[in-house]
Assembly symmetry: C2
Homo-oligomer: 216 residues x 2
DNA sequence: ACCACCATGTTTACAATGAAAACTTTACTC
DNA sequence: GAGTAAAGTTTTCATTGTAAACATGGTGGT
């Protein structure tokens, strides 16, 4: 068994392939207790390994969380890219892309909080994370630039359009996740989850209306 | 000195009026170390009081943070209300209100993170906080409703307009605070803080354009 | 086949934290 | 002036992140 790939696949090696297992368990714990309360020791305990074993794979807790966040960014980019590819070339396209992004955030709230919240320290120091972020932004920029080329937009500064679109989508996702989306009377929606998509889509439309060039 | 109001005003009582002092120091620590790393013990130490003294004024750490967040919401509502009052009745009005909100977030990033981030646990259990949030939303609704009454908007569902506007503003504030606002090439702005207002205002305009009724 | 090495885990240890429990002090009330 | 309840203290405990020193076992060079 000199093949390390085989070693990874099986249960062998010294004590299993920990790094993968750690990230898997971390994601599980993340979903259950939220990003703040993740404990390295609890992870190690649940995996059945010593409390300091994780430090052979990550310099510290923050680094593990960063790896988790990077994975999340890649996933998010994936689902958004899928929406981009599937979309027809009209206004609905932008709505659909936004909805895909927001759906991911709603389906993985704790992960999303980790990715964009203040839990992670000095995220810019993790190349993996920075690259994932740039990839996501590049994707948005591509879509935007296409729109600019086709003269779909009221303005042709890609930076403003991309940041504006991202802000809107991120804002909706954040507020919704934190339960801050409100009814007209200031109270919170009870359980009409079937209305969500419509409400969100309508909010998105506001921005799309502001961006799209309305041919006379 | 039977007057408890006087007692609060002066330095007297048992060992000074702690509650006020705690919140003050907490705000200071918040600015310096961020919401995650605030430590009750450090607060007590800096004030010169025993480590468990805070527990006579707040049931736990979370409650202290909630009080801090509530204070932040009141401040935020205040500055935004001021912008509402100062604004003339045209499109620029909405830009100005949004900018005031975002300026507060940029001036008090750690406080803003505490108010809207995932740090605070079960925020809905703090009536003080819930009320502050409702007051803020009510203010937005008032402005929106006025606009609806004057037929300024392309749509008359106040909930959608208010949530949409808030999402946009919150999204911009969050991304900016976390340093995720990007240049057109996907990199981050270096130090052109003088350009900020313009860039932000332009993003805001995208939404305002989408909301305002454009009389033929 | 041997042996030295390095990656991976373990044991032990330490300091910081949030919080509970029991005790002490002080200001105000009757 | 005694008693009471609020405000503060001391002591204690479990949990956490992480450093340091040690153990182990698979691998590669000779």
């Amino acid at each position: 068994m000199t093949n390390s790939a085989l070693a990874e696949a099986t249960q062998s090696y010294h004590h299993g392939n920990l790094r993968r297992e750690l990230l898997k368990q971390a994601l599980e714990h993340l979903k259950q207790v939220g990003p703040d309360k993740i404990s390295l020791r609890a992870l190690a305990r649940d995996i059945g390994v010593s409390q300091t074993a994780p430090y052979r794979h990550f310099p510290d807790k923050n680094a593990l969380l960063a790896a988790l966040a990077a994975h999340g960014h890649r996933q998010l980019t994936e689902v958004t890219q899928a929406a981009v590819d599937a979309a027809e070339d009209d206004a609905q396209k932008f709505i659909d892309i936004g909805l895909a992004y927001i759906d991911f955030a709603r389906a993985n709230p704790e992960l999303y909080k980790l990715m964009f919240g203040p839990v992670l320290e000095s995220p810019m120091e993790f190349p993996e994370l920075v690259e994932a972020g740039q990839r996501a932004f590049a994707m948005i920029l591509t879509v935007i630039q296409e729109g600019i080329n086709r003269k779909h937009f009221v303005q042709d500064d890609a930076r403003i359009l991309a940041n504006g679109a991202w802000s809107m989508v991120h804002g909706i996702a954040s507020l919704w996740i934190d339960g801050m989306y409100r009814c007209a009377d200031g109270t919170f929606p009870s359980d009409e989850t079937h209305l969500d998509e419509t409400v969100i889509a309508n909010s998105l439309k506001l921005l799309v209306n502001g961006i799209l060039y309305k041919g006379e």
